[in-house]
């Protein structure tokens, strides 16, 4: 990791820590996904995105869509770290009347652009928002964070065609490829591979990177944003579930990682011991 990215490492660490504390409240949560995608979120929220604190609906903001509603814990963690959401609400995660429900919804949470969760919706909405930004002459970007599992939805491919057909160069799709969906490894459920030539054939600019390598993630975001081609961009991020907590990384990985009651504190303690400066 380059010295310049040290602070990004610190942000990613903090995102992981916030997410662990949220999951500890409920004794459950999609912590494997949150730990895995933390580096991508750190680069998004602390390097790439334009936004204004206290103005979640500022016209000029880059729109970050969470298609995968169950990743809400990860986005809450990033937005808490960014100061978009107050840290003291962290302990309300998943509680009745909390602004931080288990699955992300636009009506509940500042900064949550769409209601995700019905998988395969985000990219199509992103297409329409990207069209809308162009109509309004707004130079902002639309980011859509999706999962490898969503590549099984037909609507994802309808949206992929539409984005290229309409030259949506203000649309950046992010795929968290952790190769895990509800019933098992994504590549064994319904493989989307070979993904790079597939998206290229659909007319997209494609990058595939190690999504837990901050230097690579940052470089990919920079390329996607600065590219001067009238094509939508996609960054496929290969990530490791539970990244950053070794005793969870080596556990049998499932969609819903089993964590014992006494292990949350152990996980946080491990993170604290490894805290970047």
């Amino acid at each position: 990791m380059s010295i310049a990215n040290t602070s990004l490492a610190r942000r990613a660490w903090a995102i992981r820590r916030h997410a662990l504390r949220m999951a500890e409240v409920q004794g459950q949560g999609y912590i494997g996904q949150a730990l895995g995608v933390a580096d991508v979120l750190a680069v998004a929220w602390f390097h790439a995105l334009s936004y204004r604190l206290g103005e979640p609906e500022w016209e000029g903001r880059d729109r970050f869509l969470l298609s995968i509603g169950h990743y809400a814990i990860a986005l809450y963690a990033a937005m808490i770290e960014a100061g978009v959401l107050p840290e003291e609400e962290l302990e309300t995660y998943g509680m009745d009347d909390s602004r931080l429900p288990m699955s992300g919804m636009a009506a509940y949470t500042p900064g949550m652009e769409i209601t995700g969760g019905s998988l395969g919706h985000g990219l199509g909405i992103a297409v329409g928002m990207a069209m809308g930004l162009k109509r309004n002459g707004n130079p902002a970007f639309i980011y859509n964070l999706m999962s490898d599992g969503e590549l099984g939805e037909g609507s994802t491919w309808e949206a992929a065609m539409a984005a290229a057909h309409h030259d949506l160069d203000n649309l950046i799709a992010l795929v968290d490829f952790n190769n895990q969906q509800a019933d098992g490894p994504s590549t064994r459920m319904m493989t989307a591979e070979p993904l790079v030539p597939k998206f290229e054939a659909f007319g997209w600019h494609v990058q595939r990177i190690d999504g837990n390598d901050l230097d690579a993630v940052k470089a990919a975001f920079d390329i996607a944003r600065s590219l001067r081609e009238p094509r939508p961009r996609i960054i496929i991020c290969d990530t490791t579930m539970c990244k950053g907590v070794p005793f969870l990384e080596t556990r049998e990985i499932t969609h819903f990682v089993r964590v014992e009651a006494d292990e949350w504190a152990k996980a946080v303690a491990h993170l604290d011991a490894e805290a970047p400066v």
Binding site: S118, G124, I125
Partner: protein, 340 residues
């Protein structure tokens, strides 16, 4: 009367002469009335002249939903989304998020059956001002169940936040287009396209969102109807009047939210209430009216004119409308029988 679907496909048939199978895009039979071309398309152009938020999207059906009129007038405000209803709806939601009022068109079968989850989650759950406008509602094509949206109202009535309109004729389609463009929430509107009969115009009718209105007075029975069945009811009432039977007609184009107050008020004065709808007997106007009457303690005799709970036959529309008892003569015959 034949039910072709119930016969064996391995036995030869001898079809009788008569009208050929309706083209899928056939205009509704005007039955001697004056017609207005593409009322939705022209009304949308008018609305868009003063409302810059309006944009149009279609899934390869601009021609057959009359959206082509808008596309020709405002090519830069029109999006061809190809044969892809899911992304058309999602993209409409995205455009609405950026401040636009999208009108998205396809056939009613595709919106209700294929795009339901997208209309529900991307539009209705977030109360976005997307207007889903769909041709071929109910039994308005002879192509068979792939294109006959006989259960679209049942499907959509269960969706929270969604306003549902089933307009009668060209005049009402034009008026309702302006009304839903101005309405802040999500709407689903059934559409008659092509040369559309004009029935309510000469009556001085004015559409009001959420309101049912008496379009004919008469004390022997009350028909509560929507869509082109109000046209049928008016024609049937004329025939029955010649026999001394006077039928009142309450036209209820807004299926949701239903104007329960007016329906109950008028039904309380009637000894027979008949609902008439271009839709399956399950989950449409008839059942909505019935439950409103029950909940409000209004208990007239109640009958339903509706399509059966079946996949319907292919054929020519006049044949099918007779066969499934939503033609003028079938409506008159059923009411005559119930009053006897």
């Amino acid at each position: 009367m034949t039910l072709s679907r119930r016969k064996s496909k391995y036995e030869a048939r001898q079809p009788k002469g008569g009208p050929a199978t309706s083209a899928m895009i056939a205009s509704l039979d005007a039955e001697g009335r004056s017609t207005i071309p593409a009322p939705f398309g022209h009304a949308l152009v008018e609305a868009a002249k003063t409302d810059e938020r309006i944009v149009g999207l279609t899934a390869d059906l601009s021609k057959y939903t009359d959206l082509y009129v808008f596309a020709e007038a405002f090519p830069n405000r029109f999006y061809q989304m190809g044969m892809a209803e899911q992304v058309m709806i999602s993209a409409a939601a995205g455009l609405a998020r950026e401040g636009f009022t999208p009108f998205a068109t396809t056939y009613a079968v595709f919106a209700s059956r294929r795009a339901y989850d997208f209309i529900c989650m991307a539009i209705a759950e977030e109360e976005l001002p997307v207007k889903v406008v769909c041709a071929l509602p109910g039994l308005t094509t002879g192509y068979g169940p792939s294109h006959q949206a006989t259960e679209d109202l049942a499907i959509f009535r269960g969706m929270p936040n969604l306003t549902i309109i089933d307009p009668c004729d060209a005049t009402e389609i034009a008026q309702a287009t302006h009304a839903i463009a101005a309405h802040p929430g999500p709407c689903y509107m059934r559409l008659l396209r092509g040369q559309v009969p004009d029935v309510l115009g000469p009556l001085g009718y004015q559409f009001r969102l959420g309101r049912a209105q008496m379009v004919r007075q008469g004390g022997d029975a009350l028909i509560v109807s929507s869509g082109f069945m109000t046209m049928r009811a008016l024609d049937a009432a004329k025939r029955l009047a010649a026999e001394g039977i006077e039928i009142g007609i309450l036209h209820s184009p807004t299926i949701k939210p239903l104007d329960e107050a007016t329906i109950c008020e008028e039904a309380a004065k009637a000894r027979l209430v008949v609902t008439a709808e271009n839709h399956s007997r399950i989950g449409g106007l008839g059942e909505a009216v019935a439950s409103a009457l029950m909940r409000n303690g209004v208990h007239p005799a109640f009958r339903q004119i509706a399509l059966p709970d079946e996949f319907l036959d292919a054929g020519a529309l006049p044949t099918l409308h007779d066969q499934y008892r939503i033609s003028v003569s079938a409506v008159a015959r059923q009411i005559r029988g119930w009053l006897a």
